[in-house]
């Protein structure tokens, strides 16, 4: 009785196959695609008592971009191609020469930079579309506008800190964002329209 009996080992050679099957099952049923896109924040819905109080913005502070149902793009009063939008938007946001038809410059103290800068704080870029406009064109315009902002931010970041915007610390990025706040109107276009 003192003999030790050796327990026969469980045959585990198929465990690898089983786990391979599980692995393949998960590979098939899941998706790894990371969703990318342009993030936007919609304005809050209008309260009832505010309905008639249209927000008034000075005309020089609005850049109206209109796209009609045939996908023609207009900036202000003239037709433009998609390629023009970026340059026009940059000119508008920056207003380097303080022209009277571009948004007003206001001095703003930027803590992160330790100085006061002239900022077109109240500018708004509004994109109006027809119900028949292609989403693709609308998206291309939005993308061009974001490109304009990003290039301006990169320029400033390089001038101030010597690096591109994306390599800055959070505080530095915040300071840059204060100079060039992204203001693309997502509201119902009529509310901001130039028809006042």
């Amino acid at each position: 009785m003192g003999k030790k009996r050796k327990m026969p080992g469980l045959n585990t050679s198929s465990t690898a196959d089983i786990s391979f099957m599980l692995l393949i099952f998960f590979l098939v049923t899941t998706s790894m695609d990371t969703d990318q896109g342009l993030a936007r924040t919609l304005p809050k819905p209008p309260e009832d008592d505010q309905l008639n109080n249209e927000i008034k913005i000075k005309e020089r502070n609005i850049l109206n971009i209109r796209i009609n149902k045939d996908n023609y793009v207009m900036i202000g009063d003239d037709y433009a191609s998609l390629a023009d939008i970026k340059e026009r938007a940059k000119e508008f946001i920056k207003n380097e020469e303080n022209r009277p038809n571009l948004p007003e410059l206001k001095p703003k103290k930027i803590k992160g930079l330790g100085k006061t800068m002239m900022v077109t704080e109240n500018h708004v870029i509004s994109v109006q579309t027809d119900r028949g406009t292609d989403y693709g064109v609308y998206f291309a315009v939005q993308d061009a506008l974001v490109t304009a902002y990003n290039e301006l931010r990169d320029e400033l970041a390089k001038a101030e800190f010597g690096f591109k915007y994306e390599f800055l610390t959070d505080d530095q990025q915040k300071a840059i964002r204060e100079v060039y706040p992204q203001k693309i109107s997502e509201a119902e276009p009529k509310k901001y329209g130039g028809q006042q």
């Binding site: 465990t15 786990s19 692995l23 990371t34 969703d35 990318q36 342009l38 304005p43 028949g132 998206f139």
Partner: protein, 144 residues
């Protein structure tokens, strides 16, 4: 020739399995609309997938074309929907989130680039009403 010891093979495979389970998400819906996302250059990655609802807009897939025609449709979960139904969809999805995640709730719009803007304007108005104010226009990165 001595046999190779394969006893650690299952462990190895299990590790890979767990890795994939963690980095991937289940494909939740079967797409009933065809969409080709617009192409952009300035895209950001979606921060938290668990706090995101998806709205698909596009033409019905080829198999469903005969039944539903070729007008652009909105898809929520597994079925076609009209714009006002998004309100309930968003409310339900958001109520399932933990309280701390609610501020990060985002709606991702996966829209075909030929969709007329009218539909998207309607969708955005409903989202505003539902206070789902963070949206992402889903797109593909431009390949150089």
């Amino acid at each position: 020739m001595p046999e190779m010891n394969t006893s650690s093979l299952p462990d190895l495979i299990f590790t890979i399995l767990f890795f994939f389970m963690m980095v991937t998400t289940m494909r939740e819906v079967t797409l009933k609309v065809k969409f080709e996302k617009p192409i952009g250059t300035q895209l950001e990655k979606l921060a938290r997938k668990s706090c995101t609802s998806f709205i698909y807009i596009g033409q019905p897939t080829d198999a469903l074309r005969g039944q539903f025609g070729s007008a652009h449709r909105i898809q929520l979960n597994d079925k076609y929907a009209e714009a006002p139904e998004i309100y309930d969809y968003v409310m339900e999805d958001r109520s399932e989130l933990a309280e701390s995640d609610k501020p990060f709730y985002t709606v991702s719009l996966k829209v075909d680039h030929h969709t007329p803007m009218g539909i998207i304007t309607d969708v955005k108005q409903v989202l505003r009403k539902a206070y789902a104010l963070k949206i992402v226009y889903s797109a593909n990165k431009k390949q150089d």
